[in-house]
């Protein structure tokens, strides 16, 4: 739906080829495209403005690397700045207090506070704190307390019961008292979703905070939030001394510009991200990955990195060359490549970011992903010798492999055809560049038109 930033830029910088430096004149149009890309990613306008100014400052006069176009160079600068703005590295949760360490959850309605509370248990346990107590101060939404109770049970953590007739502050007092008496390591306090403009509700959470003196006050933000993220973040940050942010629903296809807005406005680190509804769906925040996502450009970056390396170590080029010639590229590499793809977040997120891949439907991708698992299975059923030299594979071996991986011989044959195409693709990468590679990839992935 949205044009990829790289694609946009490639239009703008077409006439910039051969210029050795980024200058005021030649970045002007390109920066406008960056601006549009950020706005489409829901980064708030004031944040975009500040950001563009910074990028401009950094980019002007930067020397264009041999192997890069000015456009790529600019994206490099943008990405670096974006990563910088997102906070360089992951920020850990703090437990630096006399137990129980209180975690207070705050955010708008439907941001994902209760689900995140349950997910937090897992993160806390991983860091060696065993005894966790959860309590809900949401006396407003129907069945909110029941929800946290069920979530706590799923997370195998203790739940401190409360009822809607109680006052939130009384619930908090009782829960804290209980946590102290029973030597809990951590007390997670879930609160009702509230609008930042609802003064009474904001006062309530302020009072809760003052009483609980939490070591972590976590602001829960929906990754899909739009321009208004600056307002909510500002208001919550003004009311509560936030210590960190949890970004939820990151498994959607929103680019998550809200992350940047919130980070920029509050200056507080994004500590965790929520993906999916399962309680295991929580991860440490990676600023770098988020930067790529906001820009919609995972792959191009690695290409840029590749180019950087090429400049630095001519040695590495040789290996790449060997790969590109298609000679050393065997089924083992093929498998490794697929695993790498998986690490990058699977086909869908990868294809999303490749220019020109927009027309591939999501359903096709899901099929492709299933197919990838199957392909891995098939390759795993081969002997090392077969993987190195697929020419060995004749009818009888194929039957064995098919039986071993639970597929039909046709599937094995299909894999081999795909592998040959991939080999060709590696070769063409050296010559034709990305667009040609894309064509190759579409051919390689089954079920794609």
């Amino acid at each position: 739906m949205f044009d990829n930033l790289t694609q946009r830029l490639s239009h703008v910088v077409k006439n910039l080829r051969g210029q050795g430096r980024l200058t005021e004149a030649n970045v002007q149009d390109a920066l406008r495209e960056v601006r549009v890309a950020l706005l489409e990613a829901d980064v708030a306008l004031p944040v975009v403005r500040d950001f563009i100014a910074r990028v401009k400052e950094k980019a002007l006069g930067a020397e264009v690397l041999k192997s890069l176009t000015p456009g790529q160079m600019l994206i490099g600068v943008v990405h670096k700045e974006l990563t910088h703005l997102m906070g360089e590295q992951a920020a850990p949760l703090s437990f630096a207090t006399q137990p129980p360490a209180v975690f207070l959850m705050a955010g708008l309605q439907g941001a994902g506070k209760t689900t995140s509370s349950g997910k937090l248990v897992r993160v806390i346990r991983e860091q060696g704190r065993k005894k966790v107590l959860l309590v809900s101060c949401d006396v407003y939404r129907p069945a909110a307390i029941e929800q946290l109770k069920l979530v706590s049970a799923q997370a195998e953590a203790d739940f401190f019961p409360s009822v809607p007739e109680q006052k939130p502050i009384d619930i908090a007092r009782a829960a804290l008292d209980h946590a102290k008496k029973h030597f809990y390591d951590v007390l997670i306090v879930d609160t009702a979703g509230r609008l930042h403009v609802d003064a009474a509700m904001m006062d309530e959470i302020k009072a809760l905070h003052a009483f609980l003196k939490p070591v972590e006050t976590l602001f829960v933000v929906d990754a899909m939030q739009g321009q208004d993220a600056v307002n909510t973040a500002k208001a919550f940050n003004d009311t509560l001394p936030l210590t960190g942010v949890i970004l939820t629903k990151l498994d959607g296809d929103a680019r998550g510009g809200a992350a940047l807005s919130v980070r920029h406005i509050t200056g507080k680190p994004i500590k965790l991200v929520g993906v999916g509804e399962k309680l295991s769906g929580i991860e440490v925040f990676h600023p770098e990955r988020m930067a790529s996502r906001v820009l919609g450009m995972g792959d191009v970056l690695s290409l840029i990195e590749e180019a950087h390396k090429a400049v630095d170590h001519a040695e590495a080029m040789k290996t790449v060359q060997k790969l590109k010639s298609g000679k050393g590229f065997d089924l083992e590499d093929f498998k490794a490549q697929m695993q790498q793809m998986k690490k990058l977040g699977g086909l869908s997120s990868l294809m999303d970011k490749l220019p020109g891949a927009g027309q591939i439907g999501a359903g096709d991708l899901a099929q492709g992903e299933k197919q990838m698992v199957r392909i891995e299975g098939i390759i795993n059923s081969m002997t090392p010798a077969e993987r190195r030299n697929p020419a060995l594979l004749k009818a009888s071996r194929k039957r064995r492999i098919a039986a071993g991986s639970g597929v039909q011989v046709q599937d094995v044959n299909r894999l081999l055809t795909q592998f040959e195409q991939a080999q060709k693709m590696m070769k063409s990468m050296g010559k034709g560049g990305l667009s040609k590679m894309m064509r190759g990839m579409k051919g390689m992935m089954p079920g794609m038109r």
Binding site: G110, Q147, H196, D222, N231
Partner: protein
């Protein structure tokens, strides 16, 4: 819409409280206007609700726009640029913003507008033009039961919307049955049951996990009891969770088995706080279910779902209701003229 419209120079601090008071007299005026439009007594209270719900939008928007359209100011490039800023900050999105600005430029040329203040009415007119196709109130025909299926991403406000809809239909003397199709999220069933209790409406739910079966049962039961409207809740899902999108397709298929004409209405619930991703959501759910309408919730904050304009441009689906508050009556039909008026009052 137009939640927070700050000027280029100010820091992003929405001085909402102060601004709200400033525009209060104007608000009253429009309430009166809206009320006179319709004889229904309920109308004025709805207009009032819309007013107060959108007060924050209007205040920020008005103070912003008033500055732009100040008396004696001339139309120039800087003004258009400011206008662009205003629209973008309201989540209108790049494409729809560009569209509106282009239209405005055309109008300025055609009608030889020179005063900045004239631009205000022009922008209003353009917004009304753009949004007009989305105003199609939900029409409940004589199908018995009339099945309404709700879908949306997690936390959009589906269950709350069902509670409010149930109340609304009851007020129209329709009997209502709720189907607790969210069998996934913890306590979703209990949440709907609570809404049922408050409205004195029966809720069909099941401890076992198949949403399609629950809704099927609800429709059967509604038919045998002569219930007018069935509201079917579903679990929140992100369009990227393909297996869940597949599941909701199945839910719709099974509903069709219970009644070949059902669901008579498929509503997507959108959170006004959501930015440009709303476009993706509408697209994905429309592909999966064939949407017949939208409900935009949480319009009582400072986010005002300007994304409606982006939708009008890209993926026009009628907006059936908007939610402007937490009360049971705060879910109201979407009326473009009033909506835009409210924003500019």
């Amino acid at each position: 819409m137009f939640g927070f419209l700050k000027s280029r120079k100010t820091q992003p601090v929405p001085a909402t409280e102060v601004a709200t008071e400033e525009v209060a007299p104007v608000a009253v005026e429009v309430v009166a206007e809206a009320a006179s439009e319709s004889a229904a007594t309920a109308k004025s209270s709805w207009a009032q609700r819309l007013k107060s719900g959108l007060a924050r939008t209007r205040s920020t928007f008005t103070s912003q726009v008033a500055g732009l359209f100040g008396v004696g100011a001339k139309i120039d490039e800087a003004l258009f640029e400011e206008l662009e800023t205003v629209l973008l900050s309201a989540d209108v999105g790049v494409e729809a913003t560009q569209h509106l600005i282009d239209k405005l430029r055309g109008r300025v040329k055609r009608e030889r507008l020179t005063e900045a203040s004239q631009l205000r009415d022009a922008l209003k007119a353009e917004l009304v033009d753009l949004l007009a196709p989305l105003e199609k109130p939900l029409d409940i025909d004589n199908s018995k039961p009339f099945v309404i299926m709700l879908a949306g991403v997690n936390g959009a406000g589906k269950t709350t919307t069902i509670g409010k809809l149930a109340r609304r239909f009851q007020a129209q003397n329709k009997s209502v049955l709720l189907a607790a199709g969210d069998t996934f999220r913890a306590a979703a069933r209990e949440q709907l049951a609570e809404w049922g209790r408050r409205n004195n409406v029966e809720v069909i739910s099941s401890r076992a996990g198949d949403p399609a079966a629950v809704i099927y049962d609800a429709i059967q039961s509604a038919r045998s009891r002569g219930i007018d409207v069935v509201l079917a809740d579903t679990a929140g899902r992100l369009p990227t969770q393909l297996h869940l999108m597949e599941e909701i397709r199945k839910v719709k298929r099974v509903i069709q088995k219970a009644d070949i004409n059902a669901p008579h209405e498929v509503l997507l619930v959108l959170d006004a706080n959501i930015g440009q991703n709303a476009l993706m959501q509408v697209k994905a759910f429309d592909e999966a279910l064939g949407l017949t309408g939208l409900v935009m919730t949480k319009l009582d904050g400072t986010a005002k779902g300007g994304v409606i304009a982006a939708l009008a441009k890209r993926q026009p689906v009628p907006v059936r209701f908007i939610g402007v508050g937490e009360g049971l009556e705060d879910l109201q039909p979407f009326r473009v003229a009033e909506f835009v008026d409210a924003l500019f009052a």
